[in-house]
């Protein structure tokens, strides 16, 4: 119950601080934001590309095996493009972000809490939410679309390689990808990615702020950031799927 109350307080404080930034943007710590953004992108990029590539490869193999029976393997490219742009690209990237960046946020802020650095900020009159959480949440939110694009491109390359091996020329695969992809579909996927990034950043920072000063406190915070992040991603993805179905998007 205390954790829930703390989460609500953190949400409210984060929202108010973010609102305050709109009126006083100079108070935003751009240096910290840039550092967190760079770390989220550069640290997460190799694994995101690898997983995106393997995902495209696996999707292509599994679906081609079934569609080949009907002579429809050429439509594998359509399926991979829709699957990656709408759903799997943002989803898998967000899971990677939760594992790498969300846990890192929780560990960094948690260690600062154990070392009384958050208390030091408070007694300077610097709200830890503005100083530590906002730049990180913004960084995770903006890093997600960048990483998502990379994962999607890697996935397309992976799929194209499999199709090439199955005798579908690269130009045909590319035509199918271009025909089936719309600006709305790609934008929707990236916006979804940004939402997932927001959730991962928020939950990572919250877990850090709620770290207990015990021997395993920081470890527990990092674990709960990953678990909480993945659960939040799955739940919000489900809600978005229902909304898309109802609105026929």
């Amino acid at each position: 119950m205390d954790a829930f109350r703390g989460a609500c307080a953190f949400l409210g404080e984060t929202f108010m601080e973010a609102l305050g930034m709109l009126f006083r943007p100079r108070r935003f710590r751009f240096g910290d934001f840039a550092l967190a953004f760079e770390r989220a992108c550069s640290d997460g990029l190799p694994i995101t590309i690898l997983i995106g590539f393997l995902l495209g490869l696996i999707l292509a193999f599994e679906s081609a095996a079934a569609l080949q029976r009907f002579g429809a393997e050429v439509y594998v490219a359509d399926m991979i493009a829709i699957g990656l742009f709408r759903e799997l690209g943002p989803l898998i990237t967000a899971v990677v972000l939760a594992g790498r960046t969300g846990s890192a946020f929780a560990a960094e802020i948690g260690t600062m809490k154990v070392d009384e650095e958050l208390d030091a900020l408070t007694t300077f009159g610097l709200p830890p939410v503005r100083f530590l959480a906002l730049p990180r949440i913004a960084a995770a939110t903006l890093a997600m679309p960048v990483l998502t694009i990379c994962a999607e491109l890697a996935g397309l390359i992976g799929g194209a390689i499999v199709l090439q091996l199955m005798g579908v020329p690269l130009s045909v695969s590319w035509d199918h990808v271009c025909n089936v992809s719309t600006v709305f579909m790609i934008s929707f996927g990236l916006a979804k990615g940004a939402l997932f990034g927001l959730l991962v950043g928020f939950i990572g920072c919250l877990a850090g702020m709620q770290t207990k000063s015990t021997a395993d406190g920081v470890g527990v915070a990092a674990t709960s950031a990953v678990v909480g992040g993945i659960v939040a991603i799955a739940v919000s993805d489900g809600i978005l799927a229902v909304i898309c179905y109802v609105w026929n998007v």
Partner: protein
């Protein structure tokens, strides 16, 4: 040193956390310019009292004022300007070097130009004997240096009161004594009020003007005054035992 007016006043304060009262009915005042020690055994609540005094936790009852102001949303910003805190671990920001650590409050709360901020931070580091370590990261320096850097950072905005949480903890006797000398030097130079949480008797006898002693079993304040007098003239057996046994071991 002028030590007339009360800069901190606690009246019938209940200290602790919601649902857990640690100390009851605590009443004492800290005078301007004095070095006041909060002492007692481990877990007696001295750090808890300090957390109330620096506004990190709300008191559970009674009244606590600093320069006549209570810790509430209206006074909070003004009170933060009046205090500086050195935490037990130093609490330096690990991603910044010592100069940047000291410059941080200057960046946030003054209109100083960058050059002025650097000069001011250098001056503060010199005052605590760390002029040559300005570019070092907290991970590259010793525990004693961390504490001195934390004092420099706490002094950045010229606070009226400096709170020190266990400054001697984890330090060897020589470093600890050097830190005591620094506290005395800063008080003499700047006339600051110091509130120090410690149970190190050599340090207490060296720097304290007055002290407040707490006891976990009685959940309250059990002695208030000059520690040198309390050591000989207290009527409380716990107080006598604390000072004299410690003295024998010290």
């Amino acid at each position: 040193m002028q030590q007339n007016s009360d800069i901190i006043a606690l009246h019938h304060v209940n200290a602790g956390y919601p649902g857990a009262v640690i100390l009851e009915d605590v009443t004492f005042e800290v005078k301007t310019g004095e070095i006041f020690i909060l002492l007692g055994g481990s877990g007696c609540g001295k750090s808890t009292i300090m957390k109330h005094m620096i506004g990190l936790n709300p008191i559970l009852g009674g009244s606590l004022t600093i320069s006549g102001m209570e810790w509430n949303d209206r006074n909070r910003a003004a009170l933060y300007r009046m205090i500086g805190v050195m935490y037990q671990s130093g609490a330096l920001f690990g991603s910044m070097n010592l100069l940047q650590n000291v410059m941080l409050p200057l960046e946030e709360f003054t209109r100083m130009k960058r050059k002025e901020r650097i000069e001011r931070a250098q001056e503060l580091l010199s005052r605590v004997g760390l002029a040559d370590a300005a570019q070092k990261m907290p991970s590259e320096i010793s525990g004693g240096m961390k504490k001195r850097a934390a004092i420099a950072r706490a002094m950045a905005l010229d606070p009226a009161i400096l709170f020190l949480d266990e400054p001697s903890a984890g330090l060897d006797p020589i470093t600890s004594s050097a830190l005591d000398d620094l506290i005395l030097k800063l008080r003499a130079e700047q006339g600051m009020t110091f509130v120090v949480v410690t149970h190190e008797l050599p340090s207490i006898f060296k720097i304290a003007d007055r002290c407040a002693m707490f006891d976990k079993a009685r959940r309250g304040l059990i002695a208030l005054g000059d520690p040198r007098e309390l050591r000989t003239s207290s009527t409380d057996s716990f107080v006598l035992d604390f000072f004299n046994r410690g003295e024998r071991h010290g």
